[in-house]
């Protein structure tokens, strides 16, 4: 896609999901907001679903990443071992560089 926002993050980068609650059609699960994880891969750039849902073009396309989180960082009472993880697809405009 030519009309795409440049990718800001690379695999291995630490990122934090924005703690935001705008109305509308969102593909960022509530349970991941505010959490920090690591970029696993860049999946490509895709039209923004928050715009597509309202029949708008969703351009420029947003880079989409798979972000890996430690389960223990998402759930205070996670019952499994510390090595357990979860990977979630998150668009770049929901991510900030983590310290």
């Amino acid at each position: 896609m030519t009309d795409a926002v440049p990718a800001r993050f690379a695999p291995g980068d630490r990122v934090t999901v924005r703690q935001a609650h705008p109305p509308g059609h969102l593909r960022t699960p509530f349970y991941a907001r505010g959490a920090s994880g690591v970029i696993e891969r860049l999946c490509g750039a895709f039209a923004n679903p928050e715009e597509l849902a309202f029949n708008r073009p969703g351009l420029p396309a947003q880079p989409l990443y798979r972000v890996r989180f430690r389960q223990a960082d998402l759930w205070d009472d996670y019952a499994g071992p510390a090595r357990d993880t979860i990977e979630i697809e998150i668009y770049q405009h929901w991510l900030e560089a983590a310290p």
């Binding site: 798979r66 499994g80 357990d84 993880t85 990977e87 697809e89």
Partner: protein
């Protein structure tokens, strides 16, 4: 008791399984009839699409898994680009963006879509009802090991459970571990071991086989 329904006491006929239509079912019917009346597509075109989608089945994903089991170079390509690997062996996947995730001695993968019911339908057919249930969608991310146990799948603590939430544009297929004792098997025979549940990650391949 006779298989014929000829006993002499009166009773009401059993109720139909159909429930009243929900708001969204009524909405769907209304939109469908508008689209066909406006000739955006015909009823027959819609029927054919449904028939084609219903004809898809986990055997398609099983072919990809079996090829990956017997051909390490193919497996590497499948892990790099799942959609291209599917097309390479003649599987029609349309616009599907497939990510293949490999179970190893250290990692067990489990797929869920918490936001709706995203599923690699082109390779597995329609998702089972439990995959779409709120219980599975909410619990698979929060207590995956408890969910796996209910499916009869015990993952040892020293193996990482890695959940994949298909929240956006990608779809996921688990490449299960090849069962022991299958050296020299044909791809067709291997493909039968790659069950639907093993490719979603709620089971291991060949589970229940002796």
């Amino acid at each position: 008791m006779s298989i014929h329904h000829d006993h002499d006491h009166p009773h009401a006929p059993p109720p139909d399984a159909d429930a009243d239509l929900s708001y969204y079912q009524v909405l769907e019917l209304a939109v469908t009839s508008l689209l066909t009346q406006k000739q955006v597509f015909s009823a027959d075109e819609m029927r054919r699409q449904i028939e084609a989608m219903d004809a898809r089945h986990p055997g398609l994903g099983g072919k990809l898994v079996a090829r990956a089991w017997v051909d390490p170079a193919y497996k590497a390509r499948a892990l790099q680009d799942g959609s291209a690997a599917a097309r390479e062996i003649g599987l029609e996947v349309g616009p599907l963006k497939l990510i293949v995730v490999e179970n190893t001695p250290d990692v067990h993968n489990l797929v869920v879509c918490t936001l709706c019911s995203c599923y690699p339908r082109m390779l597995l057919g329609l998702p089972p009802d439990w995959y779409k249930s709120r219980a599975y969608r909410s619990r698979a991310v929060r207590e995956p090991r408890a969910v796996l146990r209910e499916f009869g799948t015990e993952i040892p603590e020293e193996i990482e459970v890695r959940v994949h939430d298909s929240t956006a544009d990608m779809r996921y297929l688990v490449l299960p571990r090849r069962p022991a004792g299958t050296d020299g098997w044909s791809e067709d025979r291997l493909a039968a071991l790659a069950t639907r549940d093993s490719m979603v990650g709620v089971a291991v391949a060949g589970a229940g086989q002796s």
